[in-house]
């Protein structure tokens, strides 16, 4: 999932200090699962904003709505009838949803309520860890399903480097060496010969190096 963190309330308040009405807009997908921007977080932020505005002596209408997704036009259309009642939107979706909401409603100011962090997995409740950088050319088949692009600090394709000590990366004792994980995994699978093969130079044009990316599937286009 896309993992995000809630922004501090003071920062959000700074964004909406001029508005007379604001819609707090949540998303039912990734940000709900990582408890940063779902229906519950929308309720908490809206409640906090209402109490803050009251104490400041400001009459601000704070609305609440949570969409199934903010990255699909059909769901964003659901707020078409209500959006005119608000000066601004604080979106608790990931950066994709925030931008797409702004694109669909160009006359509205859309502010971020979360910091979008990475694509990751939940290790336990309240702990998330990055697992994919969306490089566009997956090499997990060769690395025993451990991604060195994401989990190696140097994104090495033929590791480990000299900074690997007792299975940990030199950047922190809390960070596992991705290449140690790869070797352990390949050993467990009986595929250590894969480790001996040198990886060719990676095509980074599918990563951010090639600029903003776009996928067009003609078989799906209407």
């Amino acid at each position: 999932m896309i993992v995000a963190e809630r922004k501090p309330i003071e920062e959000i308040l700074g964004q909406v200090k001029q508005v007379r009405s604001v819609l707090v807009l949540g998303c039912n997908e990734c940000v709900t699962v990582c408890e940063a921007g779902g229906k519950k977080e929308v309720g908490v932020l809206a409640s906090a904003l209402r109490m803050l505005f009251l104490q400041q002596g400001r009459e601000v209408n704070v609305g609440e709505r949570t969409l199934e997704r903010q990255c699909d036009t059909e769901y964003l259309e659901e707020i078409r009838d209500m959006i005119d009642a608000f000066d601004a939107v604080v979106s608790l979706a990931c950066g994709v949803g925030i931008q797409f909401t702004a694109e669909r409603y160009p006359s509205k100011a859309v502010y971020p309520g979360v910091n979008t962090c990475f694509m990751g997995a939940a290790l336990e409740r309240g702990v998330w860890s990055e697992r994919c950088q969306g490089c566009g050319s997956c090499i997990l088949a060769a690395t025993g399903a451990v991604c060195p692009i994401t989990r190696c600090a140097k994104r090495l394709l033929n590791g480990p480097c000299g900074g690997s000590t007792a299975g940990k990366c030199e950047i922190s004792k809390d960070v596992e060496c991705a290449w140690q994980l790869i070797i352990d995994r390949l050993k467990a699978l009986g595929r250590l010969e894969d480790y001996e093969r040198l990886s060719p130079i990676k095509d980074w044009s599918t990563d951010r190096a090639g600029g903003p990316r776009k996928i067009i599937r003609e078989d799906l286009r209407s």
């Binding site: 501090p8 309330i9 003071e10 519950k40 309720g43 908490v44 409640s47 906090a48 209402r50 109490m51 803050l52 009251l54 104490q55 002596g57 009459e59």
Partner: protein, 128 residues
């Protein structure tokens, strides 16, 4: 035992403190409550294993939010006791009552009253 406790306290029953969410606590303050005490079973005695521990974390989250918005985190607290321990409940209730009396009224309620008074004055002035 028929022990008395401050009449300012209103009891809201929940199946387990694990049911109490940050949003429930914030809504109390939004509606004018001066303080909230979450009363859970003793730690280790939860019928649902971890309900009171979850409540404890949510109380901490609510405290942080209330601190950020100027209401004050000390207006929310969690206490743990056995359902048969009436004297301890009374003590907690009295302590909370005293703490709230010290802290004063919920600033949101005061602000709302001022807002209504101001709206009433404006309406009265606008009348012919």
């Amino acid at each position: 035992m028929r022990l008395g406790y401050p009449s300012s306290i209103r009891i809201i029953r929940v199946p387990c403190t694990g049911k109490v969410d940050v949003l429930h606590i914030l809504r109390c303050f939004e509606r004018g409550a001066d303080g909230v005490t979450v009363v859970g079973c003793r730690e280790g005695d939860c019928h649902y294993q971890t309900g009171n521990f979850r409540a404890k974390k949510r109380v901490q989250q609510a405290q942080a939010i209330l601190e950020q918005i100027g209401i004050g985190g000390t207006r929310v607290r969690m206490c743990n006791l056995s359902s048969s321990d009436a004297p301890l409940f009374v003590r907690f209730a009295q302590e909370m009552h005293a703490a709230i009396m010290d802290a004063g009224p919920n600033p949101v309620r005061t602000a709302r009253m001022l807002q209504r008074a101001s709206a009433g004055t404006t309406a009265a002035l606008q009348q012919p």
